[in-house]
């Protein structure tokens, strides 16, 4: 799993059926210091996360389908948690120490 931060939403009317009625969020990937590392993912939100929140992202198809309870779905990235606190090397990364 990866740690990311919600920075936007993706609005899409024409999409594969699996995305209908689901929220797509644009998330920056974060490095160990909690800073954007230059990567990003468009993720399906399963936990009701919102702007600026630090989230736990799954980027693997089998697990994504398991979370969405679907047998086949062209989905890889899903948000599966909202991070309240993250500590790396004894330093508090989230919330900003």
């Amino acid at each position: 799993m990866k740690v990311g931060r919600v920075v936007g939403t993706v609005v899409s009317t024409i999409s594969a059926p699996v995305f209908e009625g689901r929220r797509l969020l644009l998330c920056d990937g974060l490095d160990a210091a909690g800073e954007p590392d230059g990567s990003y993912l468009i993720c399906v939100d399963t936990v009701g996360s919102g702007a600026g929140e630090t989230v736990l992202i799954l980027d693997e198809g089998n697990s994504a389908r398991q979370v969405l309870e679907l047998e086949t779905a062209p989905v890889r990235a899903v948000i599966v948690g909202i991070i309240d606190q993250l500590t790396v090397d004894g330093e508090l990364v989230v919330p900003d120490g």
């Binding site: 999409s15 920056d28 990003y40 062209p74 890889r76």
Partner: protein, 90 residues
């Protein structure tokens, strides 16, 4: 999933089994500010409506083929949605 811009079309009459009727497009992957990032790739159009110039999102790897009617086909990038807007949250 990643953002990409459709930049071209691909015509191939000889294809692997299962790919009949699947439309292929050339897409340029984008960073989240919609600037080109990396090399263009060929993606299957799973929404049947994408065309050159459009902003789309693309799923890669094994999951790409799951966007197609026949899910056991050799495809590693698929367009799974056309983007109307990317709204930055503040």
């Amino acid at each position: 999933m990643q953002l990409a811009r459709v930049t071209g079309t691909v015509v191939a009459s000889v294809k692997a089994e299962g790919l009949e009727g699947v439309k292929f497009l050339v897409v340029q992957p984008l960073d989240r500010r919609q600037q080109p990032q990396g090399d263009p790739v060929v993606a299957a159009d799973a929404v049947h409506m994408a065309g050159p110039g459009e902003l789309v999102y693309v799923v890669s790897a094994r999951e790409a083929s799951q966007a197609l009617p026949n899910t056991f086909v050799p495809v590693d990038h698929a367009i799974v949605g056309i983007v109307d807007a990317v709204e930055e949250l503040s």
